[in-house]
Symmetry: C2
Subunit: 367 residues, 2 copies
């Protein structure tokens, strides 16, 4: 029923309904979640907070904001929290009511959806396949015409898994500042890149008032079900977002998460170790399939293009789902086509199982 049903990854419920299986039996390669699973400390925190559900959540989320402020070394006044990054994305457009934005694409479709629903015109800038989906900053800048009031970037980008080099990004921020335009950077996956927060531009909000950064707890702590994202920017925008938002959109459990950056340092280290090894391993394995062009990833998902033949992503998805594996058909991303799909990088055991099933499918006589 919802528009989102067929638009995003991670809908194991819909897949289970469609293929008449239990959602728990599906190995989900369509959502890009830390495969180390929910940190045990987070599970304990939630279990011990169940009684608190009988109180309204703190509308100001003070403890949560303090935790984020300590983690990123930024002022509390620059932070707005919300029901996942998706609430932050909607809020920023609802508050700013920009006339027109430019979105380098392919990218996450929620920016365009949210912008349009706030009455903002959306223009796309194509990140070319021929450039291996690497953003050309100068080319982008020459496309920021007078009537464009802001640019929205996803870094690293979903679904391409490409990270924008920090120096170029800072140059973009400076230039956009000079011409008085806004830059929104979605860093939902930044903690799952090599170098983690060193790739982030969050500190530049202290110097440049034209930068707004979006973050989430979802990916790095493997808790998409808890619904928690945040935005960081100049305090006047942030306080308008607080005014506009649903006062209790962040639930009691999510309100408690401010401490996890400190209590889960060991988990974050283990996450880095997994990342360094597993992303490159799965990438190399995927490159062995002659049917695929694999775009070199910089975070925990990989964009793959099926080369030649009659196989497309929709068919591959169906065949893999028959074997209990859900992948993301990436054909509905702007500028991609029916040949593209996206897979998650999980732990070695799952990745091996995934590769085995993939080999089975590709060995089928009709493929």
């Amino acid at each position: 029923m919802s528009e989102s049903t067929n638009m995003h990854g991670g809908n194991i419920y819909e897949a289970a309904r469609e293929f008449n299986t239990a959602s728990g039996d599906i190995l989900d390669y369509s959502a890009n979640i830390n495969p180390l699973g929910i940190p045990s400390g987070v599970k304990k925190l939630i279990a011990s907070s169940i009684e608190s559900l009988s109180n309204y959540p703190d509308t100001d989320c003070m403890e949560l904001r303090k935790g984020i402020a300590r983690y990123l070394n930024i002022p509390e006044e620059s932070i707005v929290v919300g029901n996942g990054a998706s609430e932050i994305i909607q809020l920023i457009f609802d508050v700013l009511r920009l006339k027109k934005i430019l979105i380098p694409a392919p990218t996450f479709s929620e920016y365009a959806r949210a912008a349009k629903s706030a009455g903002t015109l959306v223009e796309y800038f194509e990140i070319r396949k021929e450039d291996d989906f690497k953003l050309n900053i100068d080319h982008l800048l020459s496309n920021v015409r007078d009537d464009v009031e802001g640019v929205v970037l996803c870094n690293p980008n979903n679904p391409t898994s490409q990270l924008i080099e920090k120096h170029g990004l800072l140059r973009l921020i400076e230039h956009m500042h000079k011409i008085d335009k806004l830059l929104i950077v979605d860093e939902a996956f930044i903690e799952l890149t090599h170098g983690r927060n060193s790739n982030s531009v969050v500190e530049s909000i202290k110097v440049f008032d034209n930068v707004f950064v979006i973050r989430a707890f979802t990916k790095v702590f493997a808790v998409p079900g808890i619904r928690l994202g945040y935005g960081i920017g100049k305090s006047s925008i942030v306080s308008e977002m607080w005014e506009r938002k649903n006062p209790w959109s962040v639930n009691t459990f999510a309100c408690q998460m401010g401490e996890v950056f400190e209590t889960e340092k060991d988990y974050l280290k283990r996450t880095s170790l997994w990342l360094e090894n597993e992303i490159i391993w799965l990438y190399n394995e995927m490159c062995k399939f002659k049917q695929f062009k694999v775009y070199k990833p910089s975070t925990n998902f990989i964009l793959v293009e099926i080369i030649g033949g009659s196989l497309n992503a929709a068919l591959l998805k169906r065949l893999l789902l028959d074997m209990g594996i859900l992948i993301r058909d990436a054909g509905n991303f702007q500028f991609l086509n029916e040949k593209f799909f996206r897979i998650a990088v999980k732990d070695r055991k799952s990745n091996s199982a995934f590769l085995e099933k993939l080999r089975e499918v590709l060995a089928m006589p009709d493929i």
Copy 2:
């Protein structure tokens, strides 16, 4: 920071910050939650669902909607679920973009806030103190001018605790249907009235396409922290709301709540028993204070007016908070003034403790 901080009841965190105490030490008479507490079955359901947080919630909330459909004997297609009643309130205005609405007041302030933020003009219709805050349907109808596209009612009404008699409400629906205007009825407290769902107009959505009903799990199951509300109306409006909403605004725990209407039948019976006795008992006790005019309640909260003297609700709130009790200063409700406050009805032990503290305060030499 948020507008809501000082506007609503239930903010024990802000009260605790202001009065430098722990939020757990406050006896909260400002929020109107079932004092039987969270049903044990709900706690178990949550504890056993923690692992599921690593999956995205079902964007279609199918199981949840099926549970609600069975409970109220309505089609699934007429149900939209959201992050508390507050998301539903915002969504209905965002989708309908009405030019102007009429709101009988005093009432819950979120209708006006949400409507205004969607660009809808708000006109108030005064529910008169001289009528003991009982809504005069004929008087209301004569104020629905041509330019008014809809009316928003809260039934039973917050903060007055007045229930609109069913026959009159159905008459209002019929008349509004004839003149082609929308009626939005917020029934967040309906399950906490004598007669419960028999006071509801939810079944009339099957006959009249101009009715939209708002409900919540919050009050009856004592889980404001879980964030779960729903709306019921004609399927074309409901599906527009699904399109517009944040796809994952209902978290994993909330998605599981569809079964509780059936599994918690005993809890609901015990709730009725408590209601029948305790509301009238606390009302009678409150009537004994010569300083108060007490408006006879029909649900689990009571509106009280301080008569004469220099005492006002703000001062009473401060004095009671020094004793660890938080009440709702109702002075910021439209058409009320600094003499009004609202209290919850809780269990006998809490109510007795509350009355004792109240007596102490009123016996102070300066009061």
